[in-house]
Symmetry: C2
Subunit: 355 residues, 2 copies
Amino acid sequence: MTSSNSTGSLRLAVIPGDGIGQEVTAEALKVLDVASPAAVKFEQTRYDLGAERYLATGEVLPDSVLGEIREHDAILLGAVGGKPNDPNLPPGLLERGLLLRLRFELDHYVNLRPSRIFPGVASPLAAPGDVDFVVVREGTEGPYTGNGGALRVGTPHEVATEVSVNTAFGVERVVRDAFARAQRRPRKKLTLVHKTNVLVHAGSVWWRITQAVAQEFPDVTVDYMHIDAAMIFMTTDPARFDVIVTDNLFGDIITDLAAAITGGIGLAASGNVNPDRTAPSMFEPVHGSAPDIAGQQKADPTAAILSVSLLLDHLGYADAAAAVERAVIDDLAAREPGTTRRTSEVGDAIAARVS
Amino acid sequence: MTSSNSTGSLRLAVIPGDGIGQEVTAEALKVLDVASPAAVKFEQTRYDLGAERYLATGEVLPDSVLGEIREHDAILLGAVGGKPNDPNLPPGLLERGLLLRLRFELDHYVNLRPSRIFPGVASPLAAPGDVDFVVVREGTEGPYTGNGGALRVGTPHEVATEVSVNTAFGVERVVRDAFARAQRRPRKKLTLVHKTNVLVHAGSVWWRITQAVAQEFPDVTVDYMHIDAAMIFMTTDPARFDVIVTDNLFGDIITDLAAAITGGIGLAASGNVNPDRTAPSMFEPVHGSAPDIAGQQKADPTAAILSVSLLLDHLGYADAAAAVERAVIDDLAAREPGTTRRTSEVGDAIAARVS
Ligand SMILES: CC(C)[C@H](C(=O)O)[C@@H](O)C(=O)O
Ligand SMILES: CC(C)[C@H](C(=O)O)[C@@H](O)C(=O)O
């Protein structure tokens, strides 16, 4: 594990995954290649994890592979998830066994999802304003822990539970990370999103810890919003947000909405970050594997390419990260409405703009 | 309990509640008065439940009052919730002790929330299309049961849990109700919204029961969408939805988004329906008590008035219900952008249009 480098060799685990994951990852790597500082070499290890491997071997993420991945400096992931209703693929198995397992095992407690409306990009909102916020989604607890179970399955007396687990340890570290990010941004504003009026136990620990950590960041303005109210502000005044911190499930929901209002999930990048650097962080587009358009060169690789920018930034290459982002912004501004380009054409165009 | 009447006397429990709840309820009652069939008399009992009563007496919903309310034919509720950060008002206490307690005790398992873009109403979406759907939100289980708890509260070792409880009994009855509603609508389409790839136990019972009940409604088209994907479609193609069925928390979230994209929570009505009529159903606007604008005649009473339309429909007065809705539609179409009216002026205008 290397935390920040100016020269040298870095080990990158590449997991293209399923569906369009393959295509968008190819373009992301193309851009990584031209954007990396001259003195830095990414040694790539490719892992064929995903639906195909599972269907062929029954393996989702063998412990030995996880152990290997752990030895890398970062992970680039495309998308995970097989064809819907494939009878040989239990629903959610890959998402949980591969994607979520990596997030949990590698302690990706900061799921970082920036949202900006880039110049030239159309929003479905009539008047979105100047949108530039980042969601810090907790990544290792909440309703995603797999706790819960079912009794008398398939009978009229079935009872199924899902348990959201929230620890002071887990909440405090992600809240502190979110405050630190807010402090580094011009507006220095943090919004906690939860549902404290109904989910009182979880809500209480999130609320109290946010208040407590706020003391350490007196220059950051804090407010609170219920998740339902956040839906309204996200569509009527998204420009008000700066840093949002929230739990795993609310973060899942709000970041897809954020992606939608800022031009679609074709543009939404994310980092599954382990800020303590005890394991490699993982970068991936927010979108899924979109099996319906897979292999047709129809997918927009921009989100995967922006994830490369987050990856470079995380590894300490701020200039290279900024160059990728600038190249994307320039490409977006030059896109002609009504024309479509192949996945590889978009990758080529952005790679060509990286300077 | 009376289920459907053409003449006679009906008992209506009125709970204006807190903040703007008082003002919007006054207008709703004004419209109910002119809209009710001549031969029907609503005997109103007013209940001063809410923040003031709690602060004065410590009472939220005494059992004796609940017993009285139970003897009514329907309930009209304004909004519940005190001033934020009132040190004498534990957060969420009124919402849970009054609003949710009524929903649970009176078995309001169908939380009905229609969403339409009425003519003349501006949506924050640039091109929303022809939006007309209804969300059937489960109202008596899921993450709203209050199950869960906390250990070592206030210490670095705190663990807080929230348990979502989902029963075959509870899921099946609301899913069946949603299918029946879909069957009565021209498009006959039902969309299950959940997060089956992560919340596997709860997701599985929702999924299986939806598939099973679908057999009884062969003319209804069924599809499924993850809650995060639903965020995207709700902003990019909301016209695709007809009937959405979902759990209590997802329903809370999606209906505020639905309200936002169809012109705001000033227009969103809801019914907490007990379809078995073993207890009175309750009708209320989706919006909250908005303490910041309370008592200033600034609130839009339209959502409360549309809730009266749902109430009349539930009680069997389809014509009166339609007349209220028509009056609202006419008023909305006649609203002049940029002008504001007092709460009572909106109520007067709509009441005057009821024919
Ligand atoms: C695929 C799924 C498990 C995942 C999640 O729910 O976290 C995805 O929606 C995301 O947001 O990365
Ligand atoms: C006030 C709150 C408890 C309530 C809920 O979460 O159900 C409200 O948001 C609603 O949607 O009616």
